[in-house]
Symmetry: C2
Subunit: 119 residues, 2 copies
Amino acid sequence: MGFDPATLKYDAAGLIPCIAQDHASGEVLMMAWMNAASVAQTLASGKVTYWSRSRAAFWVKGESSGHHQRLVELRVDCDRDCLLALVTQEGPACHTNRRSCFYTALRDGEEVVISEPMV
Amino acid sequence: MGFDPATLKYDAAGLIPCIAQDHASGEVLMMAWMNAASVAQTLASGKVTYWSRSRAAFWVKGESSGHHQRLVELRVDCDRDCLLALVTQEGPACHTNRRSCFYTALRDGEEVVISEPMV
């Protein structure tokens, strides 16, 4: 009996957050949302596939940018309401062309940009 | 002019997801929710403080369990709708007594428990 994405806990909109972490470096790259169909598609294709809330459509990461996210392993948390995707990320994960979306740190009460766009 | 938690983007319930990552090892420990007040309290106290949706109350991580989460650095993502907390975690982060909540991996279509409770 295999894993069934329907056994995860989704919010009222049918979505579950998924954290993408660089498999090799451990860097947290981004967080985005999946629905049950995109979880299934991610597992079947090996390409991390989110659900775009703004476009209300599947979002195969890298499909338009070329910055693919290949799934290494998908993990489920204890409450079954959050996912962790260990990935191999080609180039930047962030739409600002930075490796990670978490490039703003709070230091001494101020926002500090701690990484620059990749060239 | 300092950082203002009100400038983050919260969902309809006034919440923002916060990923906790072990500062030293890079392990992703858990994901929980914060509201603007708990973001402010986390920054002021250095103790990671979530908002418990089930109890509708502040949740100072470790307050009851003793498994404190000390804030090393808080980061904001590009869309300002997700936080990453780099932390020093005492003992397990998960209520199952495991170091991380993400202890279930999907391998060959099956759920596999990949870590055991700490002793």
